[in-house]
Amino acid sequence: MGRADDRQRILLISSAIFIVLVITLTLSLKRSTGFQWILSGLTVGSIYALIAMGFSVIYSSTRVINFAQGEFSMLGGMLMYSISVKGGVPPWIGFILSVLIVTLVGAGLERVAIHPLKEQSVIAVIIVTIGLAIFLRALAKWIWGTDPVKIASFSGDKPLRFLGASIVPQSFWVFGFTVIAVVLVFIFFNRTLVGKGIRAAAMNKDAASLVGVSSSTSSLLAWTIAAALGASAGIVIAPINFAAYNVGIMLGLKGFTAAVLGGLGSFPGAVAGGLVLGVLEMITAGVVPSGYKDAVAFVILILVLLIRPQGLLGKSEDVKV
């Protein structure tokens, strides 16, 4: 085992060195432009991180990959548009209302469609989440139409200059929300009894239920948290990107990529994976033709999977015979 651990440590360190090298190279060659890429990379990366955490919450409590995760973000953005832009409600109330509605939708879907499937195979549950994603996307297209909508930034659009790079104020909102969400999720899972219960149920359902943790409740809670995380990500990014009925697919795929990059089920991993993916994506978008931006993200993903299938920060799972 010792040798395997050493190999993992070497891989982890070398990938960290690689990333630092990429960043310093970009900075030294492109200076302020490079810094610009990294800042915008961190912004989208934070969003990926939030969505990746949603994937991880559901995965670690139910072993299911929720293909509707990106749709929660889409719904968040679109609801924000209806409530705040169309309805004229102040943004912060709009934010809370939108997150609340999406959270209820997430919890409702878990009760109606996921909960009854308890004993089904993982692939059946995955297909159900795909069905839910199609349903939510189509519903949004029906309600809001196909045109992308613009949502005003929370505090103006005047870019700030920072070490030669310009940064839109919305980016700070994105960073702020990400930090708050990460801290809240961390406290919930490590400091509260309910959160610890969910983790226990994820490790061993039967043992957890023996000490009074209901796996049904933890699945419901996981979906609720994932929906809230997804919705807030969708809302804070909406002023930077446009919101539209179909943004959920790409956000979901990137969040998924970030989650696997960091190690499915690991929260620090989800955050690291999101940030790394965002930065590498923006740097490559600056270097190669922008059409290939997404491809590079997936190439990195496949390489990581082949070299270190459990992700950068994940623990390797032993095969049970």
């Binding site: 297909i127 795909i130 697919i249």
Partner: protein
């Protein structure tokens, strides 16, 4: 359960009989199927069946991979696309290039790529394999849209390429042109039936037994001397070839292709067809393909058959996908092992009832003597 395992392992003469029945039934479709006219959407059954047949090529292969070998792929649209683009590029850029050879080249190239990709990727398992294949599918989609000189970019073939052709030429074999829906229908479904025959033989073979063994436990299979890595690669390549074949036929049938036809949604559609039809069920693939190809079309055409519906509800295109999503969920909730399994349970039940009744009638007769 015991009986089921035995049935799977040996395969049965019944499979061949059923194949014959299904073949006759499907080949008779053009006799009764007439386009159903409608002011919103008219439903051309033969046309939809061709599309179903084209998808069936890919889904039969995917069913072997997912249903029998238990290896998931969320990127088979890539192989479908490789097949389509190979034949489209060859036959459009070089007008002398025989179309049937283009189709074969498409299937072959898909197979080669499947092998190159499969060898490293199939070391992964479960969710990670799903993720890697998904990534490959996305990369293929991006290449289709970005290699503009070859693929015509987002516009596609033939509009996007420099060579001026009206559309991708119709498929012709030894001078016989498959240029109408009916002709194509017979071609495609004949191919599908041959693939089904191949499918039955594969699952009855040593390879098929090996695949099922590695599905239930890879470690145990390996311990029993099954070369799991080789079998997995073989079935992955086979599924890639079949997807490429389907894609190539699709290109010649549609006459034009663009990256939009080979997105993540198509990969998902393929997997959904396998699962809704019935994973690891011989007929699952075909049932899933037919149900899921017709379902959106039927939902869309439905309101025009309901008399007295207000006109603002007539346009169903808005909520086709809403209903489709709900139906998908409902299918999985109530028929998790697939429609085909449900059907065959029904058939088994009916058969048992029939035998039971027959025996009772015989017994009565006997009593009468």
């Amino acid at each position: 359960m015991e009986r089921k395992v035995e049935k799977l392992a040996l395969g049965e003469k019944r499979d061949y009989r059923n194949l014959l029945i299904v073949a006759v039934f499907i080949l008779l479709v053009p006799l009764w199927a007439r386009p159903i006219p409608g002011d919103v959407l008219h439903l051309d059954i033969v046309n939809i069946m061709v599309l179903a047949g084209v998808y069936a090529c890919a889904v039969i292969g995917l069913n072997l991979l997912v249903g029998y070998a238990g290896q998931i792929s969320l990127g088979h649209a890539a192989f479908f696309g490789v097949g389509a683009y190979t034949t489209a590029i060859l036959t459009c850029h070089f007008s002398w290039f025989p179309t049937w050879l283009g189709v074969l080249a498409g299937a072959a190239l898909a197979g080669v790529i499947g092998w190159l990709v499969g060898v490293p990727v199939l070391r992964l398992k479960g969710n990670y394999l799903a993720m890697a294949t998904l990534g490959l599918g996305e990369i293929a989609f991006i290449l289709f849209s970005q290699l503009k000189g070859l693929t015509g970019g987002t516009v596609g073939i033939p509009e996007g390429i420099k060579v001026k052709v009206g559309e991708i030429p119709a498929l012709s074999v030894f001078g016989f042109k498959f240029d109408t829906d009916i002709k194509f229908f017979f071609l495609v479904w004949a191919i599908v039936m041959m693939l089904m025959l191949l499918n039955i033989n594969v699952i009855r073979s040593r390879v098929g037994r090996g695949l099922r063994a590695l599905h239930s436990s890879e470690v145990a299979a390996e311990a029993m001397g099954v070369n799991t890595a080789r079998y997995k690669t073989q079935v992955f390549v086979l599924s890639a070839v079949l997807a490429g074949l389907g894609g190539a036929l699709f290109a010649h049938f549609e006459g034009y292709i663009s990256p939009e036809s080979f997105t993540f949604s198509l990969s998902i559609l393929f997997i959904t067809m396998v699962v809704v039809g019935g994973m690891g069920n011989l007929w699952g693939g075909i049932v899933g393909v037919i149900v899921l190809t017709f379902l959106p079309q039927v939902i869309q055409a439905m309101p025009q058959w309901i008399p007295g519906l207000p006109s603002n509800l007539k346009n169903f295109s808005n909520y086709t996908l809403v209903l489709y999503g709900i139906l998908l969920v409902v299918f999985m909730m109530f028929m998790p092992s697939g429609i085909a399994a449900g059907l065959s349970h029904g058939v088994d039940f009916g058969e048992k009832q029939f035998k039971h009744m027959r025996d009772r009638v015989r017994a009565k007769k006997y009593e009468g003597h």
